[in-house]
Symmetry: C2
Subunit: 145 residues, 2 copies
DNA sequence: TTAAATCATATTAAGTCAATAGGAAATACC
DNA sequence: GGTATTTCCTATTGACTTAATATGATTTAA
């Protein structure tokens, strides 16, 4: 029941780009250094974000990435689903093909459905903007002290 | 973010034993047939349940397993935690040793904490007795029809 | 004594994770 | 036009996990 590094890194990358959302393009190298993530691994992850239209890229020298839309347009759930795949705790709930022929009489399916709902409610209830706001208010606190 | 077969099977085994809670001992073979799970694999899983004190066993001929306490004493969460280990969505939350030195400044930790809470709330809010009750009320429905 | 059963441990095949590696293609800058 | 920079693409790897299967020792009722 763990979220893999891929999904977690993806959230951090998006949050990094959201925090540096000036319209300028940022290189993988810069993000990798800031976030302390392997540059080559990050390349793969950001490639998924790019293909999903979550970021925009410019190739070549002086190129890089920037967030495609506003931070408030991205929920943590949308990022995780793009990079991790389904967040459903059991395969039966992945609508695509639920091969389990026990589904009709499955006594536990209801629990998994509740669990999926609870998970979705949390991750879809938090946007990158929310995370930025929390971050800023925490920084604000430390200034007061 | 999937619950493994180990955990899911464990819940089914416990539910099976809860549904046949007559005080008699039931063999792995019987459960395996009823639940359509590999007998040998089930042996391993039930061994964990046994060591955790969730079931009681009698060795030798005419031996088997039975649920140790009342079905209402077992939440789905307790069974999953025993067989799957921690249900925390990120390792940082596994109190034992949170190696991540970013924890203090981690902007995403809060989301994972919320997620863990939501997950725990669901799985700890459902007992085997609840599942039995739902099962019976569903059977009841079909009798009416 | 025998058959039935739990208990214990080792092995395996397939898959996933988290990278690393090597190079092709595009582009700003001199 | 050449060069350095940077994205883009795909393959490979080593470690680990998953979901079993296999083998046999131990216990016990009949």
């Amino acid at each position: 029941m763990k979220i893999s590094t891929k999904g977690r890194y993806a959230v951090r990358v998006m949050l990094d780009l959201a925090a540096h959302n000036t319209g300028e393009y940022i290189t993988v190298k810069t993000i990798a250094e800031r976030q302390d993530i392997s540059e080559k691994y990050l390349e793969q992850i950001i490639s998924v974000l790019n293909k999903g239209g979550f970021v925009r890229s410019v190739r070549g020298a002086q190129g890089g990435y920037r967030i495609a839309k506003e931070p408030s347009d991205y929920t943590v759930g949308s990022i995780l689903r793009l990079t991790e795949g389904s967040l459903a705790p059991v395969a039966c709930l992945d609508s695509a093909e639920n091969e389990c022929e026990r589904c009709d009489t499955c006594e536990t399916l209801d629990v998994w459905r509740q669990l999926a709902d609870a998970i979705n409610r949390v991750v879809d209830g938090v946007t990158l903007q929310d995370l930025l706001d929390r971050q800023n208010s925490r920084l604000g606190d430390s200034y007061i002290i």
